[in-house]
C-alpha cells in the first residue's frame, strides 16, 4: 500500500487577510497531519463547525491552505494546482451533500454529465459513454434529456456520483453524500459507493456526521473537533474503545439515536 495523500502540519483559516490569523482559536483547521493509503476508505466525523468539510475541500484542491502541506502522489497540491491543475482534478473528484444544488437546474443531465470530460480531458464524451456511466450507477439513458427538477434526490445523487467517476479519478471525496436523502435511498447510494469503490479500486474519503454510516463503510475513522484531530484509528477500535472522551460522547450519542432492534 502506498501513501496517496499526505497532509502534514496543515493550518487553515477562512479570514486569511485578517490580523487575527495568528490567534490559535481562530484557525478553522489546526495542525492536521493525516496519511491516506491508496485504495483505503477513510471516514471523517465531527460536529458541525469541526472543519471536516474544510479538510476535504483542501485535500481536493478547492481551497488552498495557509500553512502546512498536502501532497498527492508524491507532489504537493500547490504544485499540482499551478502546473497540472486539470490532471489533479481529474484524479481527485468530489461529491457534495445536496445533489439538487450541485447540478445546474438550467442544464439537461446530458450537459452536466459531460462537463468534467470537457473541462478536464478537453473532449466531448460519446453518447455510448454517457449511457455507460449512467448504467454504472443504476440509471437508464433516458435521464440524459431530463432536467434536475424532474428527478428524485436519489437519482440526482447517482448522477453526481456518475459525473465524478466519469473522469476515472483515483480518489473520491464524498461530503455527507446521503444526509439529504431518505433513509431508504441512503442505503442504495451507500451500496453504490461501496460497489464502485471496489470496481474501480478507488480511494474513498467519506465525510459524515453519522457514525453508524461511517462505521459500516470505512476501515479507518478520523475524529475532528474544533479544527483538530482528536482521534484517529481503525473503525472497530474507535467505535468500541475510543481513546478520548469526545469520541466516547459521539459514539454514545449515535448509539442513543440509532435504531436498536
Amino acid at each position: 500500500m502506498t501513501d496517496l495523500l499526505e497532509v502534514d502540519g496543515l493550518y487553515f483559516n477562512y479570514q486569511t487577510g485578517s490580523r487575527r490569523r495568528d490567534v490559535n482559536s481562530k484557525w478553522t483547521l489546526r495542525d492536521i497531519s493525516v496519511t491516506i493509503t491508496a485504495g483505503s476508505t477513510v471516514g471523517v466525523v465531527g460536529e458541525s463547525g469541526s472543519g471536516k468539510s474544510t479538510l476535504v475541500r483542501l485535500m481536493c484542491g478547492l481551497l488552498v491552505s495557509s500553512k502546512g502541506s498536502i501532497s498527492f502522489d508524491g507532489r504537493s497540491v500547490r504544485d499540482w494546482l499551478s502546473e497540472d491543475r486539470r490532471e489533479f482534478h481529474r484524479r481527485n473528484q468530489i461529491v457534495f451533500q445536496s445533489p439538487a444544488s450541485s447540478l445546474d437546474p438550467r442544464l439537461r443531465i446530458k450537459t452536466s454529465l459531460s462537463e468534467p470530460t470537457k473541462a478536464l480531458e478537453k473532449r466531448t464524451p460519446e453518447s455510448t459513454e454517457l449511457s455507460g456511466w449512467l448504467r454504472d450507477v443504476g440509471l437508464s439513458g433516458e435521464v440524459l434529456s431530463r432536467y434536475p427538477h424532474q428527478l428524485s434526490g436519489g437519482q440526482l445523487q447517482r448522477i453526481a456520483v456518475a459525473r465524478a467517476l466519469s473522469v476515472r479519478p483515483e480518489v473520491l471525496f464524498a461530503d455527507e453524500p446521503t444526509s439529504a436523502l431518505d433513509v431508504s435511498v441512503q442505503a442504495q447510494v451507500l451500496n453504490l459507493l461501496m460497489g464502485l469503490k471496489h470496481q474501480h479500486g478507488l480511494t474513498l474519503m467519506l465525510v459524515s456526521h453519522d457514525l453508524a454510516v461511517v462505521a459500516r463503510l470505512c476501515e479507518r475513522i478520523i475524529v475532528l473537533k474544533d479544527g483538530q484531530i482528536v482521534e484517529e484509528g481503525e473503525t472497530a477500535q474507535v467505535m468500541t474503545d475510543p481513546k478520548t472522551e469526545y469520541t466516547r460522547t459521539l459514539v454514545a450519542a449515535s448509539r442513543a439515536t440509532t435504531l436498536a432492534t
Partner: protein, 334 residues
C-alpha cells in the same frame, strides 16, 4: 385528547393523506415516521390548520373534544401557541432575526395573556432556565444569530411551552442538529413532557430518533398509516412489509463491527413514487418484495397484539395475525 377520524387531505386531484384513525391520549408521546412525501408534515399541520391554502381537509380532528377541521382562523390562532405548541426543523427560520430572544419568548406569553404584564420578564427567564439554557439573563438579551443551533432550538421549545400546552407538535426538531445536541434535545423534550403531562406528536423520518423519544409510533407511507403501536414492539417485530424494510435499511450499530464492515446494506427497491403515481391497492406495491395478488386491493386494518395494528395482505408474521373484522369495526371502517 387528540382524536383523528377519517382524515383526508387533498391538493387538487391528489389525495395526500388518508387516515382512518389516530389518537393521542393526554401526556403520551407519539412518533409519526415517514419518508419525504409520506404526508407526515401535512398530517401534523392539519391539526393546527397550517396547511397550504389549496389543501382540502375532510373528516374529523378533535382536540380535547373540540372539532378542529374547518374551524375559524381566529379560533385556531387562539389555540396555536397556547393549548398546542409547535416546534419546527429549522430554528433559525422560526425566530425573528431582529428581535432579542428573550423578547420573543415574552411575546408568546403576552399574546395569550398567560401571566400579568409585570411578570413576563421573570417568567421568560424561568422558561429559558427550564430548557436548560446557561445564564438565562444574559442569553435573553442575545439575538438568534448569536446562538448555536441547539440553543436556538431550546429557545423555540421555551416559546412552545410558555403557555403550558397540552400538546406539543414537534416537526423534525432535531434533524438539523448534530448527534450530540440531538440527544440532549430529545432528553429535554422527554423530561418536559413527563413533568408537564404534555402530549407530544413527534414527526421524523428517522425511526431511531423516534425510538429514543416515544414509546408509540405510527408509520406513514404514501399518506396511509401502515402500522401503529408500541415502538419497541414494532421495531423488534414489524408486521407491515414497509416497516420491515424501514427497520432493515437502518445501518444500526452491529455487534461485530469488523465483520459488518463493507458488507452491503439492505435496501428498498426504487423510491417513493411522486404524488398521484401510486398503484391502486397497497401503497407499497411495486417496491415490496413480498407482493401477492391481493395487494391490488387496499388491505384492511389487522390487529397484531393489543395496540399494535397494521394493514398488509402478506405480513411478516402472518400466523399470529389475520385481518380481523373486529379491528375494522373498531377503527370505524365500512
Amino acid at each position: 385528547m387528540l382524536e383523528i377520524n377519517d382524515l383526508k387531505i387533498s391538493i387538487g386531484v391528489h389525495q395526500i393523506v388518508s387516515i382512518e384513525h389516530l389518537s393521542i391520549p393526554a401526556g403520551r408521546r407519539l412518533g409519526l415516521v415517514g419518508e419525504s412525501g409520506s404526508g407526515k408534515t401535512m398530517t401534523a399541520m392539519s391539526i393546527i390548520g397550517l396547511l397550504p391554502r389549496e389543501a382540502v381537509v375532510t373528516g374529523s380532528i378533535k382536540f380535547q373534544g373540540v372539532e378542529m377541521v374547518n374551524r375559524s382562523e381566529r379560533n385556531l390562532s387562539k389555540l396555536r401557541g397556547s393549548e398546542i405548541g409547535t416546534i419546527f426543523q429549522d430554528p433559525l427560520r422560526a425566530l425573528n432575526p431582529t428581535m432579542r430572544v428573550g423578547k420573543q419568548v415574552g411575546e408568546a406569553l403576552r399574546l395569550h395573556n398567560t401571566v400579568p404584564k409585570k411578570r413576563v420578564k421573570q417568567r421568560t427567564i424561568e422558561l429559558l432556565d427550564q430548557v436548560q439554557l446557561p445564564d438565562p439573563e444574559t442569553l435573553a438579551r442575545r439575538y438568534p444569530h448569536q446562538l448555536s443551533g441547539g440553543q436556538r432550538q431550546r429557545v423555540l421549545i421555551a416559546m412552545a411551552i410558555a403557555c403550558d400546552p397540552k400538546l406539543l407538535i414537534a416537526d423534525e426538531p432535531t434533524t438539523a442538529l448534530d448527534v450530540t445536541v440531538q440527544k440532549e434535545i430529545l432528553e429535554l423534550l422527554a423530561r418536559l413532557s413527563d413533568e408537564r403531562d404534555m402530549a407530544v406528536l413527534f414527526v421524523s423520518h428517522d425511526l431511531g430518533v423516534i425510538q429514543a423519544i416515544s414509546a408509540h409510533v405510527a408509520v406513514l407511507y404514501g399518506g396511509i398509516l401502515v402500522e401503529t403501536g408500541p415502538t419497541d414492539q414494532i421495531v423488534r417485530s414489524p408486521h407491515h412489509r414497509y416497516t420491515e424494510a424501514l427497520v432493515s435499511v437502518n445501518p444500526g450499530h452491529p455487534e461485530d463491527i469488523t465483520a459488518a464492515l463493507g458488507r452491503p446494506l439492505v435496501t428498498i427497491k426504487g423510491s417513493v413514487p411522486p404524488l398521484g403515481s401510486f398503484l391502486p391497492g397497497c401503497r407499497f406495491r411495486g417496491r415490496c418484495p413480498h407482493e401477492v395478488e391481493r395487494c391490488a386491493e387496499p388491505p384492511p386494518i389487522s390487529v397484531a397484539t393489543h395496540e399494535h395494528t397494521f394493514r398488509c395482505w402478506n405480513p411478516l408474521d402472518s400466523a399470529s395475525s389475520l385481518p380481523s373484522d373486529d379491528a375494522e369495526l373498531a377503527a370505524g371502517l365500512q
